[in-house]
């Protein structure tokens, strides 16, 4: 299950557990290393002490007891060399490998070559497993044997000789391992306690931190049609949630605007469709109740005219719907360059007389290069609807000016007509279906869908539509390619 609470718990507790494990491992490794180094240092010191006990003994010519003795290296220690007595195992050999002294438990298999180690090399340490004592550290070092002190000369210690001895000392690591184990146990116990405490703390903290989300959910649940705002002010929420609340408020505002547009559309559509139906119904009812020949004939003619108008309305609605379909990602085929001035001239064909009769001045001019790369039918429908709209709603004596031009990458068609009784506020709604400056329908030759078709097709063709009303009461509608 995708849960913020669970994710936070897993990440925080898991992350802390990993940190604890890493810290514990480091402590354990460092403690083990330090203890081993201490053990090694202790063994080395012991080895040096043992080496100091090796002396080069010479025979005293005045002492008959030494008459038979050969001069040589002697380990001058009379005590026990057992593991129990020393706490370590030891062995001392001379340069030829002859053992001068050794613990009785020193294992035979623990051999180390004699050559190659010089007193200047210092001690070397290695790990071994020794029967009887288990894992152990073995220190090997070479040292110069000393001579017997010349008591007559007042020496208390002998002088170093050229004879080298190899001292080996092996000490058990059991104590070190026990100490490291104790540290690990303490770390595990502490880590487990810390983990449990952290889990509880994090769970409580996450629960508290997520409370505003629950409040927000309740606020959103409480949004009703009549009260479509989040009642609690955004300032009452944590800063992390305020952008979310702002986004939700904006979404609600867009939804309100869309619903208002939808309501206006359905109201207008109902009006546009109910009135012709009412006409048909009334014509039929009257003819049925008073079926006189003349009334029947007149009624049939009217029914035909209503059917034509409804067909036109249906075609217009379908044109809007098709535009919306293309806008929503329909096929983008049949695209070709459509020369704007040619399209304008085609749309004006047959309108000249009507405009003259109404004393409307109409001029179309501009750049012949101006063109839209678009589906021809849709582009022509845009031009035709704009020109129909301008010609139809320009009062007698007014003007219609059509211009096509190229500005950089933009190819622009602009249609200006006036004077009109419109404001710039009207331009925000004039592209909605069924919008009319005069909401009454005294003349149903126009469906009120012309500009809705324009905007729908323009969006489908990625053309930008804008409109403005100038102070001289001229309405200018501009359709441009290459603009976003």
């Amino acid at each position: 299950m995708n849960s913020i609470r669970r994710s936070l718990l897993v990440f925080i507790v898991g992350g802390c557990a990993l940190v604890l494990i890493a810290a514990g491992s480091t402590v354990q490794a460092v403690a083990g290393s330090v203890l081993r180094r201490q053990l090694d240092a202790s063994l080395t010191a012991q080895a040096k002490s043992l080496a100091a006990l090796v002396v080069f003994e010479t025979a005293d010519p005045e002492d008959p007891a030494d008459a038979d003795d050969e001069p040589g290296l002697v380990f001058d220690y009379k005590g026990s060399l057992t593991y129990e007595a020393l706490g370590v195992l030891m062995r001392i050999r001379d340069e030829e490998g002859e053992v001068l002294a050794a613990s009785p438990e020193w294992p035979r298999e623990l051999e180390h070559p004699v050559g190659g180690i010089e007193p200047e090399d210092g001690a070397s340490v290695r790990s071994e497993v020794i029967p009887g004592i288990g894992p152990a550290r073995v220190v090997t070092l070479a040292a110069y044997a000393t001579s017997e002190p010349d008591e007559e000369a007042g020496e208390t210690t002998g002088r170093p000789t050229d004879d080298v001895v190899l001292v080996e000392v092996a000490g058990s690591t059991a104590n070190v391992d026990r100490a490291v184990g104790a540290v690990l146990g303490a770390l595990l116990a502490g880590g487990a306690l810390a983990g449990a405490g952290m889990s509880v703390t994090v769970w409580l903290g996450v629960r508290r931190a997520l409370q505003p989300l629950e409040r927000l959910r309740r606020g959103l649940d409480a949004i009703a049609e009549a009260d479509d705002r989040i009642r609690e002010p955004a300032a009452n929420y944590p800063v992390e949630l305020r952008p979310v609340i702002g986004a939700v408020e904006q979404l609600l505002a867009r939804l309100r605007a869309a619903m208002e547009r939808e309501r206006r559309f359905t109201d207008a559509a109902a009006h546009e469709l109910r009135t012709p139906i009412a006409e048909l119904r009334m014509i039929a009812d009257v003819a049925e109740r008073w079926p006189e020949q003349e009334r029947l004939q007149r009624g049939m003619a009217e029914v035909g005219a209503v059917a034509d108008e409804m067909e036109t309305l249906l075609e217009s609605l379908l044109a809007v719907a098709r535009g919306e379909m293309h806008r929503a990602g329909g096929p983008d085929e049949g695209v070709e360059p459509v020369q704007l001035l040619s399209a304008v001239r085609a749309a004006l064909r047959g309108r000249t007389e009507g405009l003259k009769e109404r004393d409307i001045a109409c001029e179309a001019a501009g750049d012949e290069r101006a063109q839209w790369t678009a589906r021809r039918g849709a582009a022509l429908a845009i031009v035709r609807n704009l020109i129909d709209n301008a010609c139809e709603y320009t009062p007698p004596g007014g003007t219609v000016r059509i211009s096509a031009r190229v500005e950089g990458d933009r190819h622009i068609l602009e249609i200006a007509n006036g004077p009109v009784d419109l404001s710039n506020e009207d331009t925000e709604r004039m592209f909605e279906p069924f919008w009319r400056a005069e909401q009454a329908r005294s003349d149903r030759s126009h469906s009120g869908l012309g500009l809705a078709i324009v905007t729908s097709l323009a969006h489908a063709l990625k053309l930008k539509v804008s409109a403005r009303v100038d102070p001289d009461r001229t309405l200018s509608i501009r359709v441009a390619s290459g603009e976003r």
């Binding site: 009135t275 006409e279 009334m282 009257v286 329908r441």
Partner: protein, 233 residues
């Protein structure tokens, strides 16, 4: 009864007028709100049928101005606006009834009859004075138990006198309520209709139902059964 239709849709306006005229009403028609208000203020209509979305002056604005000027004629709104708030707004603006487009002619006629009847204080479809009985719904007239066939115009004259029984009605008022403004009314049209009605009543054995008020007009005496006493208008 004389009605005013204020409707911008030409076909609906004409077919409505055709139907209502065929049903015996005198009907005037206008296509915009401004003209509608002028007609409503200057003519004493028995009923105004009013669309809402009108050019020049919105139907609701027309209605408010008419009521503010003490216009008393009942108003029936015909509109495609079908939501509850629209109907409430229409009725609160001063309308007496609200009918949503499209509608059946029968329903419209029934509502028109009911509104006209109510405005005249008639509580029943049948109005009787002595042996004479008028069925306002069926638009039939009986005298001495026998049905008397009256053409629509004569029926309209008699109906108007009946619903105004006990009050002298001038010739001008009769003309105003029985004949539409677009029809040419002969100067003796009302007198001729009264004479024709009297002949038919006499043939049915009913005399002296309609009194002549010399130099003024006519009157049906007495308050008929099926009517509330009403103040003079």
């Amino acid at each position: 009864m004389r009605l005013l239709i204020v409707e911008d849709s030409r076909r609906l306006r004409e077919s409505l007028a055709d139907g209502l005229r065929s049903a015996g009403y005198a009907v005037d028609t206008v296509a915009d709100g401004k003209q509608g208000l002028i007609h409503a203020r200057t003519t004493n209509y028995d009923l105004i049928i009013l669309d809402i979305m009108l050019p020049e002056l919105d139907g609701l604005a027309l209605l408010r101005q008419f009521r503010a000027a003490q216009g008393r004629a009942p108003v029936l709104i015909l509109s495609a606006r079908d939501r509850v708030e629209h109907r409430v707004e229409g009725l609160r603006s001063g309308a007496d009834d609200y009918l949503i487009k499209p509608f059946a002619l029968e329903e419209l006629l029934a509502r028109v009859e009911a509104l006209c009847r109510r405005s005249k204080g008639v509580t029943s479809n049948t109005v009787r004075i002595g042996d004479v009985e008028l069925d306002l719904a069926a638009r039939r007239f009986k005298a001495g138990g026998r049905e008397v066939d009256l053409p629509p115009r004569e029926y309209a004259v008699l109906e108007y006198l009946f619903v105004n029984a006990g009050r002298a009605v001038s010739r001008a008022e009769l003309e105003e309520h029985v004949y539409a403004s677009d029809k040419q009314v002969w100067s003796n049209a009302v007198d001729s209709a009264i004479a024709a009605i009297r002949r038919k009543l006499a043939h049915a054995g009913v005399n002296n139902l309609i009194e002549t008020k010399r130099g003024y007009g006519y009157m049906v005496a007495g308050v008929p059964a099926g009517m509330q006493a009403q103040e003079s208008s």
